[in-house]
Amino acid sequence: MLQFEWVTGALGGLIIGAAGALFLLANGRIMGASGLIGGLVDGSGRDSWKERAAFVGGLFLVPAILAFAVGGGQTHVSPNLWIVASAGILVGIGTRFANGCTSGHGVCGISRLSMRGIVATVFYLIGGGISVLLFRHILGVI
């Protein structure tokens, strides 16, 4: 049975890919969220900070408008701030060590048949699977 959420998932995916294609073909840049944000945060992307800030601004603003206009803005993230803070620190450190996240390695890397992108995706999927197994099924905290 094809579920509605799979269709909206694929449609949203196509839009994400179109965003990456636009950023690549127009600006000549790889659409990797962690790299674009990280370069702003640690100053390593100082010479392109305006472009990075414009991208992050659009990424923040348009979903804000959509959620306000059509509703459906629900993240269901844990209310336990210790869990959330720990997760954020792991994501921040991990993506900078790996030089990429789901958008950079996953979307942009795999589509280029980049071995680094494919290997990174395999390992963050393994990490995510272990994490949910450990924290949901063994420890029962999420």
Binding site: I16, A54, L59, G72, S111
Partner: protein, 143 residues
């Protein structure tokens, strides 16, 4: 013009994340929950996103970006500890909260206190990564 297209790309990325349901941590954790109630939506999202990007990469061959500059060269294939351990650590955090960097920013306006704390902690993690990486790189390597 570069800023306009950067903002447009970011806005389109956010739209895609919102439409696909990737700003909902339950869908992400559902995908990673292979021993529980598995949700395959994320595979449709990633698959859908790879299609336009695949053609975009093909279009870069022998061309230059529309707004000037050069396309990013393919980095050398270096499958080192930073890539593998970094991805594992990222994955652990991704599964724990159900958010990765893109959706964290895209959901900031409606993610409440948890969303804000996650984004701030992510920024702290990114800042910590710089000296941590420098220190680990300076360690003597086993011969």
């Amino acid at each position: 013009m570069r800023l306009v297209f950067a903002a447009l790309s970011g806005g389109l990325f956010g739209t895609g994340l919102f439409v696909s349901g990737m700003t909902d941590s339950r869908k992400v954790q559902g995908w990673l929950d292979i021993f529980g109630d598995w949700d395959p939506t994320l595979a449709f999202v990633l698959g859908g996103a790879i299609i336009p990007m695949f053609f975009a990469w093909r279009l870069t061959e022998g061309r230059r970006p529309a707004l000037g500059g050069v396309f990013p060269p393919k980095p050398p294939v270096r499958l080192d500890g930073n890539l593998i351990v970094g991805s594992l650590v990222f994955g652990m955090g991704w599964g724990l909260a159900g958010l990765c960097p893109g959706p964290a920013i895209a959901s900031l306006s409606f993610g409440g206190q948890s969303g804000l704390v996650f984004a701030l902690a992510m920024v702290v993690g990114m800042l910590v990564a710089v000296p941590l990486r420098a220190r680990l790189d300076a360690l003597p390597r086993p011969a």
